[in-house]
């Protein structure tokens, strides 16, 4: 069990809902991932279009908690308005706060992120900020009222895995009691396992599953990796060393030379 803002969630895998080949494959992937939280978004709707209603019906059937995002927002004001619309649409005060500062890397704008986080926390939102591994930014986000941090593993959709392991390890060590989710950049289950072995509380991914040849199988792969990584972290792994240390007892070996 992991808790976010006092809500216990059974799975440490959070899954996005975009880019799947079909709604049926999305539903199958969620079932096999056993994800407890689904990320969603808001987008323009034409008057005669029922896409929003159809998608909402599909999501409700998944039986998971909903985490709306502010994806694509490039200013605090835009993100705040988007969050307000998402709160009404999805009937939740959870918001995955994204304020993008760089188009090619989708790196967050740290200044606008903190500005938006302050306003949203003051307005009663429970903010999940998409951030980097920067310690000072993390501190400012916590000061703003955030009780969860979501550092990136690598740029969104890149599949590069954990591109700054030192930074993530330092962030985890600096704020040991803050629930943290490695969000974005994961491409393989082994990378998710690594994030969990570092002591992160959960991982959030989308493209790695949705764009796999068999999304449902990949979802199950990630579920196993997240569970394995968490077990390893809780089991207190051995310290690595540079030289070999024989695991088989030396004493008692037959003298045969």
């Amino acid at each position: 069990m992991v808790e976010f803002y006092g809500t216990a969630v059974s799975s440490r895998l959070m899954l996005g809902t975009a880019q799947y080949p079909s709604p049926a494959i999305l539903a199958d992937a969620f079932q096999r991932s056993k994800a407890g939280i689904a990320t969603v978004s808001v987008r323009r709707e034409a008057g005669s279009d029922q896409a929003g209603a159809d998608f909402w019906a599909l999501i409700k059937e998944l039986g998971v908690a909903i985490l709306p995002n502010t994806a694509g927002c490039h200013s605090a004001r835009e993100a705040i308005t988007t969050a307000q619309m998402a709160r009404e649409l999805f009937d939740t005060d959870w918001i995955k706060l994204e304020v993008i500062g760089h188009t090619d890397t989708l790196q967050p704008d740290p200044f606008a992120l903190v500005e938006a986080a302050k306003a949203l926390c003051a307005d009663g939102f429970k903010v999940f900020p998409y951030t980097t591994e920067d310690l000072i930014l993390a501190d400012k986000l916590l000061d703003a009222g955030c009780e969860v941090l979501m550092p990136w593993g690598a740029p969104i959709g890149s599949g590069l895995g954990l591109s700054n392991i030192y930074g993530l390890r330092t962030l985890r060590a600096q704020f040991p009691d803050v629930p943290m989710v490695v969000d974005a950049g994961l491409g393989l289950p082994s990378q998710a396992a690594h994030a969990m072995e570092l002591g992160f509380d959960a991982v959030l991914l989308n493209t790695a599953v949705a764009k796999a040849g068999d999304p449902a199988a990949m979802a199950e792969g990630f579920a196993g990796a997240v569970q394995a990584g968490r077990l390893a972290f809780e089991a207190d792994p051995m310290e690595p060393r540079d030289m070999a240390a024989p695991s088989t007892p030396v004493i008692g070996k037959a003298f045969l030379s």
């Binding site: 969603v40 978004s41 808001v42 987008r43 709707e45 008057g47 929003g52 998608f55 308005t81 649409l89």
Partner: protein
Amino acid sequence: MKISVNGDPHEVTSERLSAVLDELGYGAAKVATAINEAFVPAGQRTTTPVQEGDRLEIVAPRQGG
């Protein structure tokens, strides 16, 4: 009067947001709204005026990561 709806020009006759949404065919659709970049809660649509040149955004649930 002319307004912008999700970035496209539209001609509407209604002067309240709830009526504009009906006029545009949204009816009881699950949507959220903003006028001129400011959120308008559903409960305020019947009293919120829509004026010439307003920029209306109408959004609905969508896939996201």
